[in-house]
Each structure stands twice: as C-alpha cells, then as structure tokens.
C-alpha cells in the first residue's frame, strides 16, 4: 500500500483558537479519502495546511513524499486542486480559463478531451458565468485534471448543488477513481461519502474523532447508516 499523502500531528491556531488539533492520517494511492465534519470543523484549514497554503504551527504534511512548503513546483505538476468557493475572472469563457490553466503546466493534457469527457464541450465558447452550478463544478474538476494529476484535492465540491447535479458530479468522480486517480475530498454530505469514499475521517473542532471505511464506522456506532453514525460520533442528538 503506497502512501500518497501523509499528515503527521498537524496543529494550526488562529488567534489562540485551535482550528486543526494534532491531526494525523494517511491517504493511500488510488483511494478516495473523505474528510468529514460540520461547517467550521477545520476541513478547509486542514486541506490548505496540507497543500502548504497555510503553515502548520506544529506537525507536518507530505504529498508524494515531498514537503509542499519547499517543493511546491514539483508537487503541483502532479497534483490538481479545487479550492472551496473559488471563482473565475469576469467575462472569462470556458476555453479561456482552460487555456490559462493549461499554460501553467509543463506537461498538461489536452483540455478538449477533458471537456468532452465531462460533457462540457458544447460550452467551450460560453462565459463561465453562464454555466449552471453543476456545470461549473464539473468545470472546476476539469481544471484540476489539466495537469494529469496523480492526486486531486476537492474542497466541498458539491456544496450548493441540487441532487441531480450532485449525482452527475459524483459520476465523474467515480470515473476518475476507476482510472486510478487518488482523490482527497472534504464534504459534509454523508450520502456523498457513502457513495464515493473508500475511507473517511471524521473531525470535530479540528480533532480526529474516528477514521476507517464507511462500514467500519457504522459498525462502531449503535446505528445502521452513516448519517446517524456520524451524528452519534459528533455527539449530536439523533431525532
């Protein structure tokens, strides 16, 4: 089992408040790993600390065996990222944002093929702002895939999408998984975690509560499904 992402006891504080608290986990090659928690549980801060966008107060994270703070250029030729709630330039067209991202990599894939694969090719000349929520999220997956990455990071990819759009995005992620891409995602939808993730890690106030496969986590709770098990682990009342 090859480890792709290794997180060792990272802690990150803002104004004396621990947002990520001594968090450790590993993501293995070709698996879909989900980081789950409430809004404000520290999911985005964890992702940004792993990526080197924020510096951990203690502990360290490595991606493909490299330190993202020191080997940014090498890492990000092989890693695609979709940040939470990212937006694009005003008036930019689908093909232009694809061309712009393509220009950043040494060995990018042909974005036309990706657009075709995600059924977005008919929107190539359209302004990004005219796309529907689901189409825009699929576009952000396309952009994260332009470097032909070994790992993709997706931060709350489906937040705000309707059920149909969410399922369509899931399908594209399942296809990716089949092709052997390692996926690290954060979500607060249990259905999404059940449908996509090989392993999940539940966090609360930056601390790890439990980690394992969906089945293992359900079995360790008195409940039958992930949503109830999740609430139980989070210490919430189950109505």
């Amino acid at each position: 089992m090859i480890t792709c992402i290794k997180v060792e006891s990272i802690t990150k504080q803002f104004n004396g408040r621990k947002v990520v608290d001594n968090l450790s986990f590993e993501v293995r090659k070709q698996e879909v790993f989900g980081l789950l928690g409430h809004n404000g549980a520290g999911k985005s801060t964890t992702i940004e600390t792993i990526l080197g966008l924020k510096k951990a107060d203690s502990g360290k994270a490595t991606i493909l065996g490299m330190n993202p703070l020191k080997q940014r250029k090498q890492i990000f030729e092989k890693v695609g990222v979709q940040l939470q709630a990212s937006h694009y330039q005003n008036n930019i067209r689908v093909e232009e944002i694809c061309q712009e991202i393509t220009a950043l990599y040494k060995a990018p894939v042909d974005y036309h093929q990706l657009l075709k694969k995600f059924k977005l090719e008919q929107f190539e000349k359209m302004p990004v702002s005219k796309l529907s929520g689901g189409e825009r999220q699929k576009l952000s997956v396309v952009l994260a895939l332009i470097p032909a990455p070994e790992i993709v990071f997706l931060d709350e990819l489906t937040t705000g999408l309707d059920t149909a759009a969410r399922r369509e995005v899931w399908k594209t992620l399942k296809d990716l998984k089949k092709e052997g891409t390692t996926i690290f995602l954060t979500t607060h939808y249990m259905e999404e975690a059940e449908s996509l993730c090989d392993r999940i890690c539940l966090i609360k106030e930056g601390k790890k509560i439990i980690e394992g496969t969906v089945q293992e986590i359900i079995e360790q709770s008195p409940y039958e499904n992930l949503e109830e098990a999740y609430l139980w682990f989070m210490g919430e009342e189950i109505i």
Binding site: F76, E77, L83, Y88, Q89, N91, I92, E96, I101, Y105
Partner: protein
Amino acid sequence: MKRFFKLYWIEQKLGFRCCDGIIFGVAMPVGILVLIAIIAGEKMAGGMGYTYLESAFASLIAVGICACAFMGLPLTIADYRDKKILKHFFVTPCSPTWILGAVLVCNSVTAILSAISVTAVAVIGLGYQMKGSVLVFIGTWLLTLISMLSIGMMLASLCQTIKSTNAVTSAVYFPMLFLSGATIPYELFPTGLQKVASVLPLTQGIKLMKEASMGIQMDSLMGRVILLLSITVICSVISIKTFKWE
C-alpha cells in the same frame, strides 16, 4: 516565456472585453483633447509661451496612465484576491507573480494604447508638433507610468477588500484626474489650487512631460526625476512588504 505570454494574452482579452479601460483610458482623453482643441486650441495658456493644445497633449497623455494605475490595476488585483484567483496560483507550479505580472503588462498596454491614440489624434487630426525631443518625452512618459503603477500596486497591497479598494482608488483617481492638470488645464487653476495640486505625484509627472514635450529648459528636471524615482522605489517596497494573497 511562451506560457507567460499565453496567460498575458488571455488577461488582455478579458481587459478589452470589459470596456472600462478603453473608455476611461483611451476614449476619454482623446475626446477631451478634441474638445480643448476646438474651444481653445490656438490660445496661449497662462502666458507661458505655449498653446492650450500643446499643454493639453502632454497632460491628456497622462489620463491613460491615471486610469490604469489607479483604477485598472488595483481593482483587478483586489477582485482576483477576492475570487481566490491569486491563491489558486499557489497550488500550481507557477508563481502567483505570473498573474500579477500579466495584469501589470495588460494595464501598461492599455496606457500605451492611450498614449498612441492621443498622439495620433493630436498629430494627424489637430496638427500638433512636438517642440522638444521625442525620445526625452518618451523617457518622461515611461518614468511617469512606472511611478504611477507603483502607487497602484501599493494601493492594491494596502487595501484588503474590494470595498476598501473601490473607495481608496476613487479617492486617489478623481483628485489626480481633475487636479493634476490631466484633464482640466493646470494653467486655469488659481495659484492656491496650483500649490495644492503640485503635491500630487501625477502633477509632477505631467509637469515633467510638459517640459519635455515643449523643449523648455528643464531647471527642475532632475528634482522631478528623483522625486518620481523615489516614489517608485518607496511604493514598490511598501507594496511587496505588505502584499497579501488572500
């Protein structure tokens, strides 16, 4: 280099697509130049030995610089910061300075287009002839551009939100536009206002360009050059020290 050019070209297309830069940076100075030429082109401006047209040419060529440095550049950077576009460059193999560089080049190109348009209309349409050395004039124009862009970069660094950037850029842009002599001839100002206007960095740039374009013996040339160079250095340092990606 080829990859940077690709990035720049897309940003430039976006710049042209949203017409603000072209309207405020190119069409407006050309329009005012024509108006001044019609109203008072051949009249002498303030007994200084030059016409209003001659004065207007050197002033209006600064409007493009003003629009790009105090509006285009800081507003684009604030917008990209807000949209996490700058941050996204951190998770690519490219440095975020690429996108900043592309935005800087785009705004410089708009300023160059503005200067070319004003010059073309003045020379071809209005029969303007520069008395001074063209090369010296281009030098003073470049110095004015670079120093004003450095102020724009500093504004982009110091303002953290779109709202504050909007307020600050307006507070800088409009006084610079109206009081520096870029649009309203400086010669028409009462002496008191002239003194106030002289404090504005763009006024110094415009005076320098005026003197260069008219071939006036430039007593205070070195003083103004040193001032603009100092502004460039100080603002660039502040900009780099205080820049935030998000």
